[in-house]
Each structure stands twice: as C-alpha cells, then as structure tokens.
C-alpha cells in the first residue's frame, strides 16, 4: 500500500514539475523560428515567497516527523512524510536547496564578507539542527530527500560489523572538514558537486555522477543508507545535536524487557544492545585512557601540521590558484599548449600580476584553513579513540542517541509497543516476559 502511494505521488507531481519549470522569474524570449528551449538541469531561480514557502514546508515536515517519531510512534505515518519529502524536496525542488549542502553556504558566509547568505539558506541549515537538539534526528527519518531515496531501495539489509562501522564512521568528519574548507575559501561546494542522488532528482547528470549514484543505491539495497551513515557531513552536526536532545525516539514506550525482538530490527545498526563491564582490567583501561588524553594535543597539533603541509595541493582546487599555476607553467615553458582557461584569461585584460596576487592571498587562506582542518580531524580522531576505550555498562536495548535516525522501524518489533497499539493482548506480553525469565 505504502509503495503504491510512493508511485502515485511521484507521478502525480510530474505535471507540477513541468508547471514549476514554467514559473520562472526571468522568462526567456519566445522564438518564432520554432526553436525549442532546452530543459534545464539546474533549478531556475524562484520568487522569494516560494522560497519562504519551502522553509514553511520544511518546518511542517520536521514537525510532523517529530510527532510521528515521539508521539504517535507510527512507522507508516513517518513513511508517508518521507515519501512526501522525497517527492517535494527531491523531485519537485530538484534537491536544492537542501540542509546537507547549506553547511557550505554558512561556511562561505562566515569567511567571505562579500557573500550575502539568504535567510532561507540559514533556515534550511538551522531548522533540522534545532529539531535534532530537541527531538533527535527526525530530519533524517522523514525529511531528507537523500535519505529517503536510499530508504526506498533498502531490500535486504545486512548488518555491517560494528568495527567497520566505527572506522567508516570517521569519514563524515573528514568530508565535513574538507567541505567547509573548500566552501570557506571559495573553491566550491563539493557536497553539492558530489551529491550522488541529485542527478536522479533532476533526471540528468554527468555519466560519472549517475554511475556513482546508481552504485550508491545498489549498495543501499544491502547496506541501508550508506551515504547517511558513512558520508553525510551534515549528519555529523545532527549527531552532535541529537546526543543532547531532550526527547528522543525510544524502541519501547516504557521499560525494556530484554526480549531481543528488536535486535535485528534496525538496518542502520543504531540500537545499542545490553552490555556488561569489559573483560579488561579497570586499571589497564584507565591507563589506556590516560595515554590517549595525554596524546590528544599531540595528535591534534600533529594532524594540523600535516594538513598544513598539504595546503599547496589543496589550494589548487581553487580555480584562481589552479589558473595562476597553469599560467606560470605556460609562461615558463612556451612549448606547452595553452589551455582553454588560460586563453580566456589572457584575453580578459586582467594582468598576470593581479592573478598571481589574488592566488597568493588565497594560498594564505588555505594555509590557515588547512591547519584548522587538521586540528579538527586530529581532535575528532582522538575523541573517537577515547570513545572506543570507554565502555559503559548498559541494561536493555536502547537507540543510540547520536546514530539513531528516528525512522520508527523498530517500534513495531517491541511487544510493549504492540500492546500500546492494541495489536496484542496484555496477557500475551506477560507470557513473553515469563518465557524470558
């Protein structure tokens, strides 16, 4: 049933898609020769009112997702919000603007005074974080179109061994760091550039991006939401906010009875199972902890220094530095064939002095930025190692406050939840409890 709704909604929205394309702020001229204008791959600019409407829709979707995760505890309703978000934010709005990419807009605004960030971009950045701070990662559950399209292809999810998940879990930090660096220095928005799913939303992308997206979706059939769990840079921020959330989705509406029925319910590995004290001697653990804490500043600063050494190749991701480098090589070796960018620049009237000066300024920014990036990565690595050394005793099955996407999948597995819904008799619950004892 829910799958039918997916199909219907998507295809019903197609005419709306075409209509939206026609609503352009700057309509193009009509050609009398019968020339057919090409359909654009990138979204056309919209009126401000419609942009604010998008913010309203985002807020409404987040609110609904929060309600469905915490109050009505309904996977079906959450799925409905997810389908709507996929259709609206994904196919209708063509994946732009999205909170995942808005990290870059904010980074650019913070470090470039000439960039005026739209209020709507700030809203898209802040609203999901705000909701995560109070209600957990409800954005991931039912609003993010990238998550929704991955969710749609989950067929036979296999459990990723937790040690692999721990290791891959570091990638989003690195992605976030690099994305902020490149956005802040004006090199580009790599999150948007390498968004594997936007090509599907827009029915058009480069061959490589289509292949990347298809591969990601294919992987997603067996590894649930691979992008969300192991790449999404915005997920890092949501993770932090979610850990502080006042209210968070729980598997059971009351006390956990350790029935283990929810153990395999989460395809994302976001359920913490009961654990006891580790077999390792407490003194030994404390010693390991102390070593890591002492090494923390060393790792952090060392990482900062290493990244700063890479500032030169990193800076070449910025077009101005790349062009200056190109011009310099061509000037030094006249046998080198001039590139198209070089020819365009040379015909522009801008002097090479001005170009080299600008490139030098950007290089200096990269020097500083690389230090900060390295320190950030070193700090995250150290904290990760410390976290892996800490082992808390836990009773019952609980959602991981940082990693749980609040998707509501696990609710129906809980017998207490089933009693709450009236799906099973309270007596059946008692017999389950007795069988466990």
């Amino acid at each position: 049933m829910k799958i039918l709704i997916t199909a219907l909604l998507t295809f019903c929205l197609k005419p709306a898609l075409a209509l939206a394309q026609a609503i352009e702020r700057f309509p193009k001229p009509d050609f009398e020769s019968g020339y057919q204008r090409l359909l654009l791959e990138t979204p056309v600019p919209r009126s401000l009112a419609l942009e604010y409407f998008d913010v309203f829709v985002l807020w409404a979707a987040l609110s609904l997702a929060s309600w469905f995760a915490l109050k009505s505890r309904s996977r079906r309703k959450m799925f409905g919000v997810m389908v709507f978000s996929l259709a609206y934010f994904g196919f209708f709005r063509k994946g732009c603007i999205c909170p995942v990419g808005s990290v870059q807009n904010v980074s650019l605004a913070l470090f470039n005074t000439s960039y005026a960030i739209p209020l709507t971009a700030i809203a898209f950045f802040a609203l999901p974080l705000l909701f995560a701070l109070f209600f957990g990662r409800v954005f991931c559950a039912g609003v993010c179109p990238l998550g929704a399209i991955q969710d749609a292809v989950v067929l036979k999810p296999t459990k990723v061994p937790s040690w692999i998940a721990h290791i891959l879990g570091f990638l989003p930090y690195a992605y976030l760091g690099f994305a902020v660096l490149f956005a802040a220095t004006g090199a580009g928005f790599i999150i948007c550039q390498y968004d594997p799913f936007v090509g599907f939303f827009r029915f058009g992308a480069s061959f490589n991006m289509i292949v990347l997206g298809a591969s990601m979706l294919l992987l997603g059939t067996v590894v649930a939401r691979p992008y969300c769990r192991f790449l999404c840079p915005y997920g890092v921020l949501l993770n932090w906010m979610s850990r502080l959330s006042k209210w968070h989705a729980t598997i059971t509406p009351s006390e956990c009875i350790d029935c283990r029925l929810c153990e395999e319910s989460c395809p994302f590995g976001a359920i913490n199972t009961p654990s006891e004290a580790p077999p390792l001697d407490r003194r030994k653990r404390l010693r390991q902890m102390a070593i890591l804490i002492v090494l923390l500043p060393l790792i952090t600063l060392g990482s900062g220094w290493v990244m700063s050494r890479l500032s030169a190749p990193l800076s070449r991701q910025h077009f101005t530095v790349y062009l200056a480098d190109q011009i310099m090589r061509e000037n030094a070796d006249t046998t080198l064939e001039r590139s198209e960018e070089s020819n365009i620049f040379r015909a522009s009237g801008v002097t090479t002095d001005e170009l080299f000066q600008e490139a030098g300024i950007i290089r200096r920014k990269y020097k500083t930025g690389s230090w900060i990036l390295g320190i950030f990565l070193g700090l995250m690595l150290s904290l990760k190692l410390i976290n892996l050394t800490i082992h808390r005793r836990q009773e019952g099955y609980k959602t991981d406050s940082g990693h749980c996407l609040s998707c509501a999948r696990c609710f129906s597995y809980c017998p207490i939840e089933q009693v709450r819904r009236g799906e099973i008799d309270p007596d059946e619950l008692v017999s389950i409890q007795q069988s466990l004892n």
Binding site: L38, K156, I164, R329, T335, T352, D353, G360
Partner: protein, 564 residues
C-alpha cells in the same frame, strides 16, 4: 487457507512483476550506456566533414553554395544531437518507472514473507567490546598510515609558489611575472608595435583627420625636446624620449588627455661620455625608441646611456653601454623579452647583441656580432615552436634564442649599411636594404632563403608583411607590393614624398606616413587601393603607435592623438 492461497498468488504476481521490471531496467540501462558511449565518442559539432568544409570556407569566403552546405550539415548535426538528448531523457524516465516497479514488487514480496528473528545463537555481551578494540587498533594504524602518506605527498608535491611575506603586505609570488603575448599585443610596447613587426592588433581605426584644422585630433602636445624615436604605450601611458643640449629626457604622457605626466632627466650615468658625439641631424641622440614590459620602461640614447624607469618616472637603474661608433648616430631600438632587455648594438668596430636584466641592468649575455654597422631594430617572434629574436644587418640576417643568446640560424643575404628592420608573417622573414636586395626567408630549424628581388628597395623605412604579400616603402617615394612566397612584384605607386617612417598593418589597411607628415592609408592587397590620405600639418619621421582605436603620431615638434 484461502488467505494463504491468496497470499501465494499475490507473491507470485509480485515476483513476476519484479523479474520483468528488472529485465527491462537492465536492457534500458545497457541501451542508455551504449547511447552515451556513442554520443561521447562523436561530437556532432566537431565532425570531420564539418571541419573540412570550414577549412574550405576559409579560402573561399565568397562561396555561397559552400556556406549553404555548411549550414545544412550544421543543422543536421544539431538536430541529431537534440534527438539524442530526447532519447536519453525518455530512456531515463522509462528506466525510473521500471526500477520503481521493481522496488515496489520486491518490497511487497518481502512484506508477504516476513520471518521470525533467529535466536539460535546466544547473545555475546563481549562482542561489542571486542569490536571496539579491533576498530581502535585499525584506526590507529590507518591514522599513522595517513600521516605518513600525507607527509610524503607534501614533500613530493611541487610548490612553485613561494611565500614571501613582509609586514602588512600580501603574498608576493617568487615566480617572475612578465607580460604574456596577449598582454603585449594589447599594448604598444616597442618600436613598430608588439613583436616589432609593424602589426597593429586594432581594426577600428580612424581613416580621416587633419592636423591643421584639428579634425579628429583629440589632442596635440608639444614635446619640449626633439627626438626621432617613436612613441610606445602601455595602458594609459605613452612614453618617448627627447634630447638636446646635453640633456637626455624621458617623457610620460597621458593617452587620454595628452598631459605630460612626468619628465625625467637621465643624468649622472656612470661611463657616460662627457661630450656628446656629433651625430647626423637626421638621427640625433634620441633616435632609439623606448621599450616597456608593462612594469618598467627602458630608454636608450645615442651616447650609449641606457636607463630603466618605473611608471612614475623614478630611475631604477642606468648604465652606459659604451659610446657607439656610429657616424650617423645609434638608432636601433630596444625590445624586451620576459625579464630581459635586448639591445642590437651594431657599430663600426663590430656589433654586439646584449641582454640586460630588466630589474637590475646586469648584463646577462653580451654576444659579439660579426656585422657591419646598422640602424635596424630587432624583431621578436614566436614561430609556433620557439621564440626567436631576429636582426637585420650586413652580411647576415641572424636569429638568436632570446633566453640564452644562442644563435639559431643565419642567412647570408645582405649588403651595405642596413637601416630597415625586418618584416615577419606566416613563418617567413623579409629583409631589405637599398642597393642590396629584398629577400624572403623561410624559418625552420635551418632557415632557407626562398627568393630575392632587387626592385624598389628601402633605405630607412621597414617593410610589413601579411601571409600573402610584402609591402615596401622607399625614401624616394615609392610603395610596392610583392608576393610573400615568390617575391614577384604586383604593383608599385610613385608618391610625391619619400618615406622614413615604417609601414604599419592594421586590419585590412596599411598606414604609412611620408616625410611631410601626410598619412597614406591603402588596402593590404595585390591591387593598389587608396583608402584615404590625411595631413598632419608638420613633418614626421617616427612610426605612429596604434592603440585603443586611436593613432598617436609624433611629428617633429608635437605629439598628436588621432581618434574619432
């Protein structure tokens, strides 16, 4: 039971739908990939057929049937491209439909066949701790490996940008910056324009003015000290020199207003002769034209004084090259290449070819030239394979590598005391001297003398060339056109006054000033076609500068800016 049968039936239907959808999706994907590969390998707008026709059109620009054929082929190519785009789009939509159908069918199948959880394996509470330990170990090793790789990369990666900070200033790159060929061609940096070959990269130029009445004369400025050198321009600044009464002066004039922005005397140059040489009045001391590299300007005088000034008129360095042994007076002009100032210094006791560091004046190389005295100026061209600086003198036309001074080739073809500079076009160099010969030399690893002609030879004025023709003007008033490849003369015109100034090719026209200051404008073609004549109102021998849609003409006393 019935429910079970119904469930089985639905499962079976879903399974069939899934299989069919998967098959169609697979076929469609394959077709789209093949389509993409085909499109990628053949660029419809860059087809061999179209390119061939375009090449044909270059030589037959009036062929209307050819143009129609190109248009038709182009339209066909564009239609094919957009049809392909439509196919891709429709294919994408269909693929989306089948993939969606497949997903819906599979999910429906899984909803009909849900399984109970398997608790046959007991729960291992130590498993999570063991996983953590393993993860920690791997992260530590991976971190160390990344550290090592990053260090290696940072050492291996080339970094030509060297930071050079000083308090409060931006980064200055250690890499020397000098103008590239497009910047050079956007200015008028030396005698006879960029590269010194008499070519103006301007097409919209005035063809009508009158210095006497002021028609199309934007401004006129008196230059206090006279000189036969020609103006050079970079940006909005025009430079020239004047000399008289033991004063050597460099002037900077605003190209928009004609205002003299500054004038700087070159004096107290170490080694400068106490008494000026007694040069011919037709040459004077300020005959060599200045040069500029966009950062500084360079001036050379008949005393051997050479100086470098910044754009604000401050002398950065000055030195003396030795008093030239020259009975008329030295007049070869300067030209710069990257960070070198190149000087053709031919004189009675043997010539020299010098390269001075533009920032310090330090001599980078000083090569003896086995030549007679000359007054020609070097040209600096890029042949497509390398830069060459080529000089005209007797007995040889010689080419050097400007970076090192190394001789590249020489052709023995000249006689007498040479004054005209060379012309260059389409891989050919043209040299001329009165009472000697006009020659065409084909460049290559070994240059080859292709032809000689002894008609209408110039004494002072330098020729100009197109890919097809060479144009020569003489001091006795003739202007001639020769075939660039064969030397065959197509036409000559006998005009009232002689020419010292050189021909300048601008677009389709050639500009040539006679000694009375009258400008002849004619077509660069194999038939003489006069576009117009314009009076300056005073004598002129210098070569005008052509820039920003204007013409800057130096008369004997005044500098004129002609524009519409």
């Amino acid at each position: 039971m019935e429910e079970s049968k119904k469930a089985q039936l639905l499962y079976s239907i879903a399974k069939r739908v899934a299989v069919v959808a998967l098959v169609f999706a697979t076929i469609l994907s394959s077709l789209l990939i093949v389509n993409y590969i085909q499109t990628k390998s053949s660029d419809p707008l860059n087809s061999a057929a179209l390119n061939r026709l375009m090449l044909e059109l270059r030589d037959n620009q009036d062929d209307e049937s050819l143009k129609e054929e190109i248009r038709a082929l182009d339209l066909l190519a564009r239609k094919a491209y957009f049809v392909n785009q439509w196919q891709l789009r429709v294919g994408g939509f269909l693929l989306f439909f089948f993939v969606l159908s497949f997903l819906i069918a599979v999910k429906y199948m899984s909803s009909l066949s849900s399984q109970l959880p398997d608790f046959s394996e007991g729960y291992n509470p130590e498993e999570s701790w063991e996983n953590k330990l393993l993860a920690r170990k791997i992260i530590i090793f991976a971190g160390l490996a990344f550290f090592a790789v990053a260090l290696l990369l940072s050492v291996l990666s080339e970094d030509d940008f060297i930071d050079n900070t000083s308090a409060g200033s931006d980064i200055q790159l250690a890499a020397q910056s000098y103008p590239d060929i497009d910047e050079i061609r956007s200015n008028w940096p030396n005698f006879r324009g960029p590269e010194g070959i008499g070519l103006a990269y301007e097409s919209e130029l005035p063809t009508k003015w009158d210095g006497g009445s002021g028609e199309n004369v934007l401004w006129k400025t008196n230059i206090p000290l006279s000189g036969y050198n020609s103006p050079v321009i970079w940006g909005k600044k025009l430079f020239l020199t004047g000399a008289d009464n033991n004063i050597e002066m460099v002037y900077c004039i605003d190209t928009d207003t004609g205002t003299i922005l500054w004038e700087t005397e070159i004096k107290d140059v170490a080694g400068s002769p106490a008494e000026w040489p007694k040069n011919s009045k037709d040459t004077g001391i300020a005959a060599p034209t200045m040069a500029t590299d966009g950062v500084n300007v360079f001036a050379l005088f008949g005393t051997g004084d050479v100086a470098c000034l910044d754009f604000d008129g401050a002398v950065l360095w000055a030195k003396n090259l030795g008093l030239p042994e020259n009975h008329y007076g030295h007049s070869s002009s300067l030209i710069s290449w990257r960070d070198l100032l190149l000087v053709q210094y031919d004189q009675g006791s043997g010539g020299r070819f010098l390269a001075l560091d533009t920032s310090s004046g330090e001599t980078r190389y000083d090569i003896a030239r086995n030549t007679d005295i000359s007054w020609a100026s070097p040209i600096l061209v890029n042949t497509g394979e390398r830069d060459e600086i080529i000089m005209n003198a007797s007995p040889d036309v010689v080419s050097h590598d400007p970076a090192t001074g190394k001789e590249l080739w020489r052709v023995e073809c000249m006689e007498g005391e040479v004054a005209p500079s060379l012309a260059y076009a389409d891989g050919m160099v043209f040299a001329v001297n009165e009472y000697a010969v006009l020659v065409g030399i084909k460049l290559g690893d070994e240059a080859e003398l292709l032809w000689e002609n002894e008609d209408d030879l110039s004494e002072v004025s330098s020729p100009v060339a197109t890919a097809d023709d060479v144009f020569v003007a003489t001091s006795y008033g003739t202007v001639s056109c020769f075939d660039a490849k064969t030397g065959e003369r197509y036409w000559f015109e006998d005009l009232p006054n002689g020419f010292y100034s050189s021909l300048i090719l601008a677009g389709e026209n050639i500009y040539l000033t006679d000694m009375s200051g009258k400008m002849y404008i004619f077509k660069a073609a194999r038939e003489y076609s006069l576009v117009g004549t314009c009076e300056l109102g005073e004598r002129a021998v210098a070569v005008p500068a052509f820039l920003h849609g204007r013409i800057y003409i130096r008369g004997i006393d005044n500098l004129y800016c002609i524009g519409e």
